[in-house]
Symmetry: C2
Subunit: 393 residues, 2 copies
């Protein structure tokens, strides 16, 4: 099976590319390198040192004997999308190639516009390239559980059976997400579902929970194969950030009251979920949605797990919530599709956290404490934050 | 009341600007002129001759004694959005400034990307300008009934009460539209609803039916005040196109079986609906949706009304449907909000059509018959139609 991983240089794209390569896929990656450029813009960076993409690919060949074809280009350029699909001729395209941080999208108008344009146009280009070159290609698209928001009803996997005035229909699950980033994924989902209807595309939309962890079987084989670990307030996701604060002896900073609940998933399950989706493709014309998350925790619960596990313990502090979100809400979501395909979830355990603590401790000298504090405020609308004192960027 | 009409040079923007001016609003218009550029691109044009924007405004001053402030600029430029809001300081912004033709968005990849970028970015820029400069400004945004698609349940006005697994919520009405253009409006609606939540914006989203007619009280005052009338297969809407075919003695071309049903509205009701929305603003933080349509007809029913009314009668022919859409479907939509604010609908009547027939007859020499045939095929995905023989453009 030939699999093209878009965004194959990122936090999850790179481990996914290696995992699929190790499991017998013929893999190509496409990446523009823009994730590394965000680091320069924000003055932040991965806690764990990472190699340039070409060196990663070379190291993977040395370690595994497997080749990964590499394309460097930006998916918002239609020619790049067409070229990758035409020359590699994948069976499956795994699409991670989007700006993926909610706070980044909320910095200012320019970042909101950038995020939505980048994500929506990249996905449109991919859809056209596949529809024109080979509509049989299966698209495995990364979305997020955050697209749903916090409805007062149970969250199903992308679709909802509704009865209204005595009539019934199966409709797209209504979404009310909480950032311009999350909205970009909702836009993508609507566009993709349309592509399935008009061109008979095959699409699996993976609504992924918050990923935690940094090591997979493959990244641990060689330091040159490591994937990034972000801890800054813009790109760092909450569990990873708590783990880093704990190792550094800092209080774990919970936004607001902390009863906000998030769906979560272990990085080792992410790569397996993507494999399962690739190897069990959607039908022609099918827009299939999987909720790619295995558990859920409130922020306070996550902080307590980390505080309980880290040697010496940790304090929990509440900081002003920079986001606009419900803190007390219903949250129950279906996640049976991937498990029915064979996923055996790693649940949030002491073991995983202990392995993270060791990774973090090894690189503790690289932490920039300033980057941990949230500087992006959802309530403040501004054209260009780089011209205002309030923003770090 | 100060009202800024974005897209004020267009088919509906211009009559709306004059109508609000006549009804005591202090009006400004902003337009980039891009609608006229599409004419050059497509080799098409308005059946009724129209004056340049500056001449329209001058003529309106002569005829009515009222000034309309004019901004020329593109809303996708953030500075343009900010400048208009900062310098005019409107109470209300009426937002027509989007690429509004489904077939145009389906020409090829470049037109799909253009349409979604143009529409989504323009609206994001407007949201930021208002949120930063004055979040009290009411946004009256033009959407379309086509956003809903053809669900098997009754269509409500933007929101739906859902009960699921014994729990209830009021959710955004799930939408499955039928073109990249319609999708751009769905994206806008999601973005705007978020703006209401995080910044307390006031938004009225008008999901408008297919507009027919060319004359309003104001456009009829002077030939220089005329608004455009499009009949080509890209920008011409179905009732207007049927009326033109009828006058020319051509068969009325129904796409497919013709049982597809569309919501419709008279141009004179459009301008009144916009006034009612402006003068009865949404609350701070409220995302309000009105279905701006008064009746619905299948394509065959519309053709029969036209054929019955035109002197000498007309034939109806069925042509291959270039769109991908359900032809036999449930279609029932709520439209009580605007009527409860005072709208007294003009229903599709012989009178209105007769006035259109006269306008068309006056300009029949300007028709380019080639422009009437549909050349955009929903099923064909192509990067750039200008390089293929199949497309007119």
């Amino acid at each position: 099976m030939k699999t093209l991983v878009l965004g194959g240089d990122g936090y999850l794209g790179w481990p996914t590319a290696m995992y699929l390569s190790a499991r017998g896929h013929e893999v190509a990656v496409l990446d523009s390198g823009v994730r590394r450029q965000y680091d320069h813009e924000l003055g932040s960076g991965s806690l764990v040192p990472i190699e340039p993409l070409v060196d990663r690919v070379k190291a993977w060949r040395e370690v595994s004997g497997e080749d990964i074809t590499t394309y460097v280009g930006d998916l918002t350029d239609g020619d790049v999308a067409y070229h990758a699909v035409r020359s590699f001729r994948p069976d499956t395209v795994v699409h991670f190639a989007e700006q993926r941080a909610a706070p980044y999208s909320m910095i200012d108008r320019k970042h909101a516009v950038y995020t939505q344009t980048n994500n929506v146009v990249g996905t449109l280009n991919l859809m056209y390239a596949i529809a024109e070159v080979d509509p049989d290609v299966h698209v495995v698209k990364l979305g997020t559980m955050g697209e749903y928001g916090t409805p007062n009803i149970d969250i199903e996997e992308g679709w909802l059976e509704v009865t209204h005035h005595g009539r019934s229909d199966r409709v797209l699950f209504p979404k009310r997400p909480g950032s311009f980033y999350h909205l970009s994924k909702v836009h993508d989902s609507h566009n993709l579902e349309f592509g399935c209807r008009i061109w008979g595309l095959r699409v699996t939309d993976l609504n992924q929970g918050i990923v935690y962890g940094q090591e997979t079987e493959q990244t641990a084989l060689d330091p040159r194969l490591a994937t990034r670990l972000d801890y800054d307030a813009v790109f760092g996701t909450v569990l990873n950030r708590f783990a880093i604060q704990a190792v550094l002896g800092l209080p774990l900073s919970v936004y607001g009251g902390g009863s906000q609940t998030r769906a979560t998933i272990d990085i080792r399950d992410t790569v397996e979920c993507v494999r399962l989706a690739c190897e069990n493709p959607a039908d022609r014309g099918e827009f299939r949605v999987f909720n790619q998350a295995t558990e859920s925790f409130s922020l306070v619960e996550m902080a307590k797990v980390v505080a309980r596990t880290v040697p010496g313990g940790a304090e929990v502090e509440h900081v002003d919530n920079p986001r606009v979100e419900a803190e007390d809400h219903h949250f129950s979501f279906a996640h049976t599709a991937l498990e029915s395909l064979g996923l055996e979830p790693h649940l949030l355990s002491d073991t995983l956290l202990t392995s993270m603590f060791a990774v973090i401790d090894r690189h503790r000298g690289r932490v920039d404490l300033e980057a941990l504090a949230p500087a992006v405020d959802w309530r403040r609308a501004t054209d260009d934050a780089s011209t205002t004192a309030a923003a770090r960027v």
